[in-house]
């Protein structure tokens, strides 16, 4: 038998030793699977990028809260993702179809669009921009905005790497 009378394999390793080695191999395999994907290869850390997010058709309450600025966080307000640098506001225009079939852009009362400029710190790879909460930031996608004062969301319009 390989296991001797002292419970050691080949006189050197115990079962506990093997269990520890197995645990370490599993942990390393887990790390390789988690961080070895295509998305996170060739990642450049701590990249700063400036992003413009358009928040559509909101009331003045949301406008005022966005204008207070501050840090952007994840959903649970635990991780800091970036900081609001600027907020520009314009009346919201809504595309409508009238009774006679015309398509028009009309301005509803008390509804605004906010162009929120945010400076994020995250990671940049060949294929994507990744925020500190591991979510990707892409032009055309919807991004959640959580600050100390407001929760809202908007369309990502542009992303530029800050030197």
């Amino acid at each position: 038998m390989i296991i001797d009378k002292n419970g050691k394999i080949g006189g050197k390793f115990s079962v506990v030793d093997l269990a520890v080695i197995l645990l370490v191999v599993l942990v390393l395999a887990g790390i390789a699977i988690r961080y070895g994907s295509k998305i996170t290869t060739a990642v450049e850390s701590k990249t700063r990028f400036e992003c413009v997010i358009r928040v559509n058709s909101v009331r003045e309450y949301t406008v005022d809260a966005l204008k207070k600025g501050g840090k952007l966080t994840d959903k649970k307000s635990e991780k800091i993702l970036g900081e609001i640098k600027n907020v520009e506001v314009e009346p919201h225009k809504s595309q409508v179809t009238t009774a006679d079939g015309q398509i028009k852009f009309v301005v509803p009362p008390e509804r605004y669009n906010c162009y929120v400029t945010v400076e994020f710190t995250g990671k940049e790879s060949d294929q994507s921009y990744i925020l500190s909460d591991s979510n990707e930031l892409s032009v055309g996608s919807v991004s959640e905005i959580y600050t100390k004062y407001v929760k809202t969301s908007g369309d990502v319009l542009s992303i530029d790497v800050v030197d």
Binding site: V20, V24, V27, T62, A65, V106, K148, Y149, K151, T152
Partner: protein
Amino acid sequence: MLWKGMIINMANKKTKWTIIDTIIVLVVLAALAVVFVKFGPNLTKKASNEKVSFTVMLQSREPELVEAMAVGDSVTLSLTEKDGGVITDIQSEPATQLSFNSIEGEYTNETVDSRVDAYVTIEADCEVTDEYIKTGDTLIKVGVDIPVRGKGYATSGYVIKINE
């Protein structure tokens, strides 16, 4: 005597540091590092306890609901927690709703019969940091829908204003 014997035995026993011991130490250090990265920021976060006043909008509700509420009522602001606040002001007005007139091709705010819009101001003990304002487990942010439960009524509404 027994303890003395054990100490002598331990002293005489030759301990040998093996690769396995090194691996165990590394695993423990890695685990501690993961715990620190995961929970470290929360441990070092500076939070202060303050009374924060905020306004919740109850849109297009039955007038009876608003009549059931009164200034001075204690209200609970989550479904599970007992933490809550006190109503300090209630304003109500006929409910209006954005309506599209397809003939004229324009939006107007139209009054909704038999409904009211209410603005309930609540003062609550909150945990305040640079990142959030929280009472119990409920985050107070403009745009968040929070429960408002008092004696004999239960509803929810959007936070529209925070007076820190």
